[in-house]
Symmetry: C2
Subunit: 228 residues, 2 copies
DNA sequence: CTCATCCTGCGATGTGCGTCACACTGTGGT
DNA sequence: ACCACAGTGTGACGCACATCGCAGGATGAG
């Protein structure tokens, strides 16, 4: 684990507000996992009590309906945590985790983390805050599903991806989200075709340029207004 | 606070696994709040750092869209906790809490709870579990919004209400949910009219009987099958 | 009791978006 | 360099559900 990894890990809620000594000890018990594009880390209904922090790459969390249709809960990048639900609430996983790009993760098992929580009660506080934030976000998304039309949800998803993965460049914000339009559709709860038409419409209006698994955002203000 | 209240409070995640002494001390610092039907406990965007546990009655949590349309996050009964998001993550409330029926609540402020968490780290664990469960439930509901049609969501909502508020009686399960069809519609993310038609259809099939702010569930198995 | 208000029931109409169908394009594998 | 297949772009069509409109019941305030 290099210096950059240490820094990325330090921004995860698990390490926030931990003193150097504690952080060092915690780093000592994480194990590193490597995934190639498309590889599955864990699947729905499996047992599992490990928590992961993304070091590098992108991971998608998906759920599969009984009839096979999929829905994408979120796409996670560096410093983001996942898999903790089965750790705090010992039940099978309710989502699958699949690498969207080649990725490296830091993993922590229940048995390794638990004694740590006892020694460092301040971690629990940060974890509670992280979960509270997630619940807020999820409630927000629920409201969007009910009140916002598909183009609006697409705009919102793009803005979210832009905020987290966007890189400023000449001629706009370059958002290499690494998602197919199919995946984007699963993320906003719509069909691939409708998402494609929404994107084409945005592009035609000059708000963005469509690239392979990426977009160039040209007019972020219009996009933002469309999302509300 | 009477014996029944003590028992109701004991089933809340906050008190779970707490020894008698700790529970007694925690009960000593809660304050009781009384609400009449329709009364607002707190509103969206307000500051607030209090957590509540329902002792008696029902509370609905609602969000209002900019254009005035509402959506109902959940309906909470005895032993259920709410308002904790602003406590763990200090930001304005993202929902309003309104009494559906006359209700009594136990309230705990940030400043009173915090020292307690330090002395009783095991509480944090239970709180993490409670939030994890809530996230699971919320993700489930999101998937339903995407994949399940309105009648299906209505059936599911009724089953959930039945499980939590239903009372066995002659000729079926009596579910006095105390919600208007409008509120039920906001809960499942649909229009009042569509929910009305779904209910009428269920009633006509003999699966339930519609009453004022209540239903008699006659054939829970069919209802269950319709919900999937 | 009486009127106002809230709630329920239900048909008529419009529309956003899912589904289907098919052509085009880019990418990786051998 | 080729082919196969995954991903993208677009139109035609139908349906589930929102919206609108209105009428009949229930509830409760005075």
């Amino acid at each position: 684990m290099n210096d950059r990894d240490v820094e990325v890990l330090g921004r995860a809620p698990l390490f926030e507000g931990l003193d150097d000594e504690g952080a060092k000890a915690l780093r000592a018990i994480v194990t590193e996992v490597h995934l190639s594009r498309g590889q599955t880390l864990f699947s729905e209904d499996q047992e599992g009590d490990r928590l992961y922090v993304v070091l590098d790459g992108k991971i998608k969390l998906t759920r599969t309906a009984p009839d096979g249709r999929e829905n994408l809960l979120s796409v996670l990048g560096p410093s983001e945590m996942f898999g903790e639900l089965s750790l705090f609430d010992p039940r099978p996983r309710t989502a699958s985790a699949i690498a969207v790009t080649e990725s490296r993760l830091a993993a922590l098992s229940h048995s390794d983390l638990w004694p740590f929580l006892k020694d460092h009660p301040e971690i629990s506080v940060h974890l509670l805050r992280a979960l509270a934030q997630r619940l807020r976000r999820t409630n927000e998304n629920m409201a969007d599903l009910v009140f916002t039309d598909v183009p609006g949800r697409v705009a919102k998803a793009l803005l979210d991806l832009a905020e987290r993965f966007g890189q400023p460049s000449e001629s706009g914000l370059h958002v290499h989200h690494d998602l197919t339009q199919e995946e984007l559709a699963q993320l906003v709860g719509a069909s691939r075709e409708t998402v494609n038409k929404a994107l084409a419409d945005f592009a035609q209006r000059g708000w963005l340029r469509i690239e392979a698994r990426a977009v160039q955002v040209l007019d972020i203000d219009r996009l933002r207004r469309r999302s509300r």
